[in-house]
C-alpha cells in the first residue's frame, strides 16, 4: 500500500474506467485486436492498482471472490464452451451462433459460444494475475510500502 492522496483519488476514478475498458476489449476481440486475454490483463491491472492504493485486504473485499475461485470458474467456462458444442452435436470447441433480433437495429445481435470461452479466458487471467500479485503483496509487506 502506498500512502498517497493523489493515488487514492485517481484510483477511484481510474478503476471503473479500466473495468469498463476491459469489457470493451473483451467484446471487441472477436474480429479486432483484443479479447479475453487482453481484457483480463486490463481488469487485473484495475484491481492491482486498487490494492496499491488502499491495500490488499481492501482489494480482496472489492473483488468479493477469491482469485483461485475466479481461476477455477474461468477454466470451467472455457471447458464448458467446448462441451456445449459437443452436447449440441458439433465438434469440440466449434463456435455455435445464436442471432438475437434487437428492436431498432437492422442487424441482429450475434451471440457465439466463443464469447463464453473468451469470458472464461478473461476470468482465468484475472484470477492468475491477482493470485500472484496478492500473494507477493501478502508475503512481502514492506515491498511497496512508503
Amino acid at each position: 500500500m502506498i500512502r498517497s492522496l493523489i493515488l487514492q483519488i485517481a484510483t477511484r476514478l481510474l478503476v471503473p474506467i479500466l473495468l469498463l475498458f476491459s469489457i470493451f476489449m473483451l467484446l471487441r476481440g472477436h474480429n479486432l485486436p483484443g479479447g479475453g486475454f487482453v481484457g483480463g490483463l486490463v481488469a487485473a491491472s484495475a484491481f492491482v492498482l486498487y490494492s496499491l492504493a488502499v491495500g490488499v485486504d481492501g482489494a480482496r473485499r472489492v473483488l468479493r471472490l477469491a482469485p483461485r475461485t475466479l481461476l477455477g470458474t474461468g477454466l470451467a467456462c472455457s471447458v464448458g464452451a467446448g462441451i456445449l458444442s459437443l452436447a449440441t452435436g458439433a465438434s469440440f470447441l466449434q463456435s455455435l451462433w445464436v442471432k438475437v433480433p434487437l428492436p431498432g437495429l437492422s442487424d441482429p445481435l450475434k451471440l457465439g459460444s466463443t464469447l463464453i470461452f473468451d469470458i472464461g479466458v478473461m476470468f482465468v487471467v484475472v484470477g492468475t494475475v491477482l493470485l500472484m500479485v496478492f500473494s507477493v503483496e501478502d508475503r512481502v509487506p514492506g515491498l511497496i510500502d512508503d
Binding site: 477454466l75 471447458v79 459437443l86
Partner: protein, 516 residues
C-alpha cells in the same frame, strides 16, 4: 465418433477444474480425483478399442480443417500409450490418495496431478508439432510444481536442475519448429510428412532432425543429456516420482519415435546410426550409474535411463521387428517402472528410509512385499516368463537379424547388470537382517497416522495399485501375444506413414470440399 478423441484431454481438464473449485474440501477433492482418474482410464480404453476396430482416428478441433486447425490423431501407438497412461494414472492416483500428506493436498496436489495427465495424454494425441510443444509445456509446468510442492531443500535443489535443463530442451524444440516452419510452411505432422521429401535441402533437414533429437533426447533422458533425471526423481513424494518415472521420459521417447518414423527418414544412414550409438551409450551409462548407487529411488532412476536405451535401440534398428520391440518395451517399462517406484514407497513406509544400507529384514517381516518387489524387478532385468523378457527378446532378435552384433552384446550385458542392481536392492532391503533393530516400523507408521501425515486407511490404498500393476506385468509375461499383436500393428503403421498422412489429410480435404 472421432469426437471421442477429446475425452483423454477433456476428462483430466474437467477434473482439474473441479478439484480446483473444491480447493478447501479435501475429501471432495479426493473423490473427484478418483472419479477423474477412473474416467480417464475408461475413456482411453474406449478410444483404443475404436482405433483398433476402425483404424487411425483423427479430429479437427472446432472443425477447422487440416492442415490449418488443431489436429488430434490416434493411431495404434498413440492409443496404446493412452491406455497405459490411463492405467498408471489410475493406479498412482489411488496410491496418492493413501500416501500424499495433508499439506500437499491442501496446496493443490490433485489439480496438478490431472494437469500432468492432461499434458501427457495431449502429447500422445497431438497431430502437429506446435501442439506437441504446447502439451509438452503443460506437462512440464505441472511437473515443475509437483516436483517442488512441499518446498524441501532437497526438492528445490533437484528441481532447479530439472527446470533449467528442460527449458533448454524447450528452446531447442521451439527453434527446430521455427526452422521447419520456415522450410516447409507447415507444422501439421501429416502435411510435413508429405512435404519434406520434396524440399530438397538435405543438410538443413538433417540439422533440424538433430535439433529435435536434442530436444526430445533431453526429455527422454538419453546419453549424454540424462543427468537431470537422477538428480531430481528421488526428491518428491513417491506417488509423484512414480508417475514421473512411468510417463514423462516415455513421452520423449514417443516423440522421438514419431518424428524419426514419420518425418526424418530421408537420411537413415546418418540419423539412425547416430540413434544406435546413443542407444548403446545410454544403456551402458544408465546401468553403470545404477550400480554405484545405494539409495532405492536413485538406483531406479538410473535404470530408467538405461531402459530408455533399449527403446531407442528399437527405433535405431528401424525394422518392423525392432519397432515392435520398442513399442512393446515402452508399454512394459511404464508399468514395471511405475510399480517399482511404488514398491520403494512401501519399503520406505516399513523401513522409514530410502537408503538401502539402513533398510533390511523386509523379507522376514513383510514377505508379501518381497514378492511384490520381485515381480517387477525380475521383469525389469528381463527374466522369463515376465514381460521384460519378451521385450528384450524381441529387440535382441531384431538386432541379430540386422547384424548389429555390438548393440546385441551391449543389450545382453546391460540386462545382466540390471539383474545385478535388482539383486543388490533385494539383498540390502529384503534379505539382510535389519541393522538397527531399535526402530519398530509399525510404530513409525502408526505415529505418522496419528500426526496426520498419512490418512488412516492408507495401507490398502497403497498396496492395491502395486498388486494390480504386478498382475498386469505377470499377465503380459505369461500371455504376451495380445500385446505383441498390438505392438506389431503399431510398428506396421509407423513404417507406413502414408496411411497416417491419408487419414489426416485425406478426410481433411474431403471436409474442405463439403464446406461452402
Amino acid at each position: 465418433m472421432s469426437d471421442l478423441l477429446v475425452l483423454p484431454v477433456v476428462i483430466p481438464l474437467a477434473t482439474m477444474v473441479a478439484t480446483l473449485l473444491a480447493w478447501r474440501a479435501i475429501r471432495l477433492q479426493r473423490i473427484l480425483h478418483l472419479i477423474g482418474a477412473a474416467g480417464l482410464a475408461v475413456a482411453s480404453i474406449v478410444v483404443a478399442v475404436s482405433v483398433w476396430n476402425g483404424g487411425i482416428m483423427h479430429l479437427q478441433v472446432g472443425s477447422w480443417s487440416s492442415p490449418f486447425g488443431i489436429t488430434l490423431v490416434a493411431d495404434v501407438l498413440s492409443a496404446a500409450m493412452l491406455v497405459v497412461v490411463g492405467l498408471t494414472g489410475a493406479a498412482v492416483g489411488v496410491y496418492a490418495v493413501g500416501s500424499i500428506d495433508g499439506e500437499r493436498e491442501r496446496f493443490g496436489f490433485y489439480p496438478l496431478y490431472h494437469a500432468l495427465l492432461m499434458g501427457v495424454s495431449g502429447a500422445f494425441l497431438a497431430g502437429d508439432l506446435f501442439n506437441l510443444y504446447v502439451w509438452f509445456e503443460v506437462m512440464l509446468i505441472s511437473s515443475f510444481v509437483l516436483l517442488v510442492l512441499g518446498n524441501e531443500t532437497e526438492q528445490v535443489r533437484g528441481a532447479s536442475t530439472y527446470v533449467i535443463i528442460n527449458l533448454v530442451s524447450s528452446l531447442c524444440f521451439l527453434a527446430a519448429i521455427g526452422l521447419l516452419y520456415g522450410l516447409t510452411g507447415s507444422l501439421n505432422l501429416a502435411d510435413l510428412a508429405s512435404r519434406l521429401p520434396g524440399v530438397g535441402e538435405p543438410a538443413l533437414v538433417t540439422t533440424i532432425a538433430m535439433l529435435f533429437l536434442i530436444a526430445f533426447g533431453i526429455k527422454a533422458a538419453v546419453f549424454p543429456l540424462f543427468f537431470w533425471l537422477p538428480a531430481s526423481y528421488h526428491t518428491p513424494p513417491v506417488a509423484v516420482s512414480a508417475i514421473f518415472a512411468g510417463l514423462l521420459t516415455k513421452v520423449g521417447v514417443y516423440a522421438l519415435i514419431r518424428v524419426f518414423t514419420l518425418l526424418f527418414t530421408q537420411d537413415i544412414g546418418y540419423t539412425h546410426t547416430m540413434l544406435l550409438g546413443i542407444a548403446m551409450l545410454t544403456m551402458i551409462t544408465g546401468v553403470l550409474g545404477a550400480a554405484a548407487q545405494f539409495e532405492f529411488r536413485k538406483v531406479l532412476s538410473f535404470h530408467i535411463v538405461s531402459q530408455i536405451g533399449y527403446m531407442v535401440l528399437g527405433l535405431a534398428l528401424f525394422t518392423p521387428l525392432a519397432l515392435l520391440g520398442a513399442v512393446f518395451y515402452i508399454i512394459h517399462h511404464i508399468i514395471v517402472k511405475t510399480n517399482l517406484f511404488l514398491v520403494s514407497g512401501l519399503a520406505h513406509r516399513f523401513g522409514d528410509t530410502f537408503e538401502l544400507k539402513s533398510l533390511g529384514g523386509l523379507y522376514r517381516s513383510k514377505p508379501w512385499l518381497a514378492i511384490l518387489f520381485a515381480i517387477p524387478a525380475l521383469s525389469l532385468a528381463g527374466l522369463p516368463p515376465l514381460s521384460g523378457f519378451w521385450a528384450k527378446f524381441v529387440i535382441i532378435r531384431a538386432g541379430l537379424e540386422t547384424e548389429a552384433y555390438v548393440a546385441v552384446a551391449v543389450a545382453l550385458v546391460v540386462g545382466l547388470l540390471t539383474l545385478y542392481s535388482m539383486t543388490k536392492i533385494w539383498n540390502e532391503a529384503f534379505w539382510k537382517p535389519l541393522v538397527s533393530a531399535d526402530r519398530t516400523s509399525e510404530a513409525d507408521s502408526e505415529r505418522a497416522v496419528n500426526e496426520g501425515l498419512l490418512p488412516a486407511p492408507s495401507l490398502a490404498w497403497t498396496v492395491t495399485p502395486v498388486v494390480v500393476l504386478a498382475l498386469i506385468t505377470l499377465g503380459i509375461g505369461l500371455y504376451a501375444e495380445p500385446l505383441a499383436i498390438v505392438a506389431d500393428r503399431a510398428a506396421d503403421e509407423l513404417l507406413l506413414p502414408e496411411a497416417y498422412v491419408e487419414a489426416v489429410l485425406g478426410s481433411g480435404v474431403a471436409e474442405n470440399q463439403s464446406l461452402p
